[in-house]
């Protein structure tokens, strides 16, 4: 749930990285933390086990674009992917504004991808949020591995809904399309946010927020 503060001139958004265990959610945040201008980010907080498995969540606060003098603040979270931590996933999803679903492209992970996506739908439903309403994009991660499913198969399995969303072929360990997917969901979020004002506009009707150069794979209308 975004919050707009007219006194501090800030707008806050919460984006959650969701997906099965070991699919690369934490690696995404690590890459963003490493590569973004340090002036625009806070510390990366990671609550992990000794074996570096996410126990609670990872958290990275980012400052982004300025709109009419308002700073947009994005809070990035990951959920723990392991099946037993569903209560924690429900907690992290609370007040979510947008999501990136990270799928593991390896054939043997397909069942876990589907289970995780179903789990996401269920957990959103518990908050009275429909997956068809909330802004999200898909990441097909680990595209550098050998035993991976083709993109059209992943699209068939995970992006076969009435509303098809943008999807990206990602290698989170090298950063390929990590920023592209974050930018895509951020722009969808800002666009949705701009439509939720009830103040009549004097200017012409807004056009879509400009999209960065077409690095997106399999882009579709959102």
């Amino acid at each position: 749930m975004s919050i707009i503060n007219y006194a501090s001139r800030e707008i806050q958004f919460k984006i959650v990285y969701y997906g099965p265990a070991l699919c690369g959610k934490t690696t995404n945040l690590g890459y963003i933390h490493q590569r973004i201008n340090p002036e625009n980010r806070g510390d990366l907080v990671s609550l992990a086990t000794a074996a570096d498995r996410t126990l609670f969540f990872d958290f990275l606060p980012l400052n982004a674009v300025v709109i009419k003098g308002f700073v947009t603040k994005f809070q990035l979270y990951t959920v723990p992917g392991q099946v037993i931590y569903n209560a924690t996933r429900q907690l992290v999803l609370r007040s979510v504004d947008g999501m990136i679903f990270v799928a593991d492209s390896q054939w043997e992970k397909m069942e876990e991808n589907v289970e995780s996506f179903k789990n996401l739908e269920d957990n959103l439903a518990k908050q009275n949020i429909s997956i068809d309403e909330i802004p999200y994009v898909l990441q097909y991660n680990k595209r550098d591995l050998e035993n991976i499913a083709p993109v059209n198969y992943l699209e068939y399995v995970l992006n076969n809904r009435k509303r098809r969303v943008q999807s990206f072929e990602v290698i989170s360990s090298t950063g390929q399309n990590v920023f592209a997917s974050l930018n895509a969901v951020s722009q969808i979020l800002l666009h949705k946010f701009s439509k939720q004002s009830d103040v009549p506009k004097t200017a012409p009707a807004p056009v879509a927020i400009p999209v960065e150069p077409p690095i997106a794979q399999k882009s579709a209308a959102v």
Binding site: S2, A7, S8, K14, V45, F59, Q75, I209
Partner: protein, 157 residues
């Protein structure tokens, strides 16, 4: 999704008044009102020594994590939590179903004093936030593509 909470300058001034009064009485360093998703709603006090955003995220997690513990002893949740350090401490209490108040304090005061004044402060904050929710509607902040000063939103350096 619910209506977007919109804090006007007047709302923030009202919240600041309540929180400032609390800090003075309780002699605490910092107080932050957050939603249970970890978003900062309002903050007051010395914010130079810590990243309030991270404190909010972790506090929301901490509060929620103990809910199951509370259930085991027949409670719905613990409505207050206290983390004791050697010199600095954190006290958290529930404001309403959606909101938590965090207070950071040091050696100048005691947990008893913080706990005592935080109860009435939480009630005042809850009343202010309820008025906001009742206002409902859109956030009133309109913009279009040309208002966004940088694309892409995040740059890979």
């Amino acid at each position: 999704m619910n209506a977007i909470p919109c804090l006007t300058i007047e709302d923030v001034a009202n919240l600041d008044g309540v929180l400032g009064n609390f800090l003075t009485k309780a002699e605490a360093e910092l107080t932050v009102v957050i939603d249970r998703g970890g978003n900062v709603i309002s903050q007051f006090g010395d914010m130079t020594v810590m990243d309030v955003t991270i404190i909010a995220a972790l506090a929301a997690g901490s509060f929620a994590a103990t809910k199951e513990l509370a259930r085991r002893i027949g409670e719905v949740e613990f409505n207050a939590l206290y983390h004791q350090g050697n010199g600095n401490h954190i006290f958290m209490n529930s404001v309403d179903d959606d909101t938590i108040m965090i207070t950071v304090f040091g050696r100048r005061t005691t947990v008893g004093l913080v706990r005592f004044y935080s109860a009435s402060t939480a009630q005042s904050v809850a009343a202010l936030l309820k008025a906001l929710q009742n206002a409902g509607g859109g956030h009133g902040f309109s913009f279009d593509a040309s208002d966004i000063t940088a694309t892409p939103v995040f740059a890979d350096q």
